[in-house]
Symmetry: C2
């Protein structure tokens, strides 16, 4: 296997646990504000609108709109649908920025910290840069840089995102590995490395480079490869 | 003073010592390759071409060209001018990427590490993203994200760079502080914070927010402000 120079990570689901984080935060908010609602259902509906709203932009039915603003439009609709009344603009804004405060899975920070010693690591996410920077500050994710979709004015799986990140890193696609835990990694060219992090049912004919059970297990496997091939670290950290 | 949320740093000169780094590297290269040349003069001429070549782009006389490519065009010219012969393409490319391997001043990493606990920290540099990512990997600069000029297709002091970084961070200019050690901080709006890091002759009428003697001293002064104003950290790190 060709050792990659950079690892680009899917973020929602792969690195952070959006569902539990948002449900916990909204449940606490509801208790404090005395608002009773089915917060779990609201969170699921919120995420459920993710692909359709992104597809509106991808298919040209809506001009470029960053994810924070797509989230907010969906939230405004769901608040009404769930019969939640009396929220101030500041409260709606705070709730919407819950996506900036998602908690990492337990393996994310230790795994990424190890991978950073050998590779450039960055999110390649449909989130916007500010969302991803704030998330990293909040949770201690040790990214080398941040690739948000607003850098490209495209959402994954548009090829402009993957190839745009490669261009900014001055790397060829075959030097870059995509890492995602949802079992649905899209990539624009066969030359781009693919990896899979997490446990799920994989189609046997998928040409994954690595199948890992966690980010820490990915670090184990890639570190083994680096050692086998006698490569040094790219970092003094 | 309004406490900033993000600190954007000038890089060449402020954070890394481009001159000594390049002279040392080229001197070692020359010894190894048996090439005698006035490497210090070459490095000074290389940097001397920086502003003119950037101005060509800024004034529309040259289409957008990233700094690596401007550096390379200058290097090719200087190699000929200094009578250096026999360099391979790989050697020229390696020399040009010396700008990715610049060493930090002694105060840079400890100062930035402390500032990162309270603020978003990023370079806002005329370097391209790959140059700045590689430099950070090489030296351990703990940036939260990287703002290279290729994100904006503009070089400082074009206002698109400063305001582009604010937009990506979803911050107003008055929430962002520019930090530079060259005594020549340009900014597009009076509302942008200015700071000065380093020792030099300052004009008394410059409206600096902070005058610091080092990045560590900047951390001292800003941490005092955070404590005085009773603000928490923005990071768990």
């Amino acid at each position: 296997m060709l050792i990659p120079r950079a690892l680009l990570f899917d973020t929602f689901g792969t690195i952070v646990d959006w569902r539990t984080s948002l449900i916990d935060e909204l449940t606490a908010f509801g208790l404090k504000r005395g608002i009773h609602a089915d917060w779990a259902a609201l969170v699921d509906a919120w995420r459920g609108a993710y692909v359709p709203s992104i597809d509106e932009v991808r298919q040209g039915r809506r001009p470029w709109t960053k994810l924070d603003d797509l989230h907010r439009a969906t939230l405004d609709r769901l608040v009404e649908k769930f019969g939640i009344i009396g929220l101030s603009e500041a409260e709606l804004r705070h709730i919407n920025r819950g996506w900036h405060r998602l908690r990492p899975w337990p393996d994310s920070v230790p795994g990424l910290t190890r991978l950073k010693q050998h590779f450039i690591i960055a999110p390649l996410s449909n989130g916007n840069v500010s969302l991803l920077v704030n998330m990293a500050k909040y949770t201690g994710l040790p990214w080398d840089t941040i690739f948000g979709s607003d850098l490209f004015h495209h959402f994954k799986p548009d090829r402009e995102t993957y190839l745009g990140a490669c261009e900014l890193l001055d790397l060829q696609p075959e030097q870059v590995m995509l890492c995602a835990a949802d079992g649905q990694i899209f990539w624009p060219e066969d030359s781009l490395h693919r990896t899979a992090v997490g446990i799920w049912d994989l189609e046997a004919d998928e040409a994954w480079d690595i199948i890992a059970t966690s980010v820490e297990n990915l670090a184990d496997q890639l570190t083994d490869q680096v050692t086998l091939q006698g490569l040094g670290t790219t970092s003094k950290q």
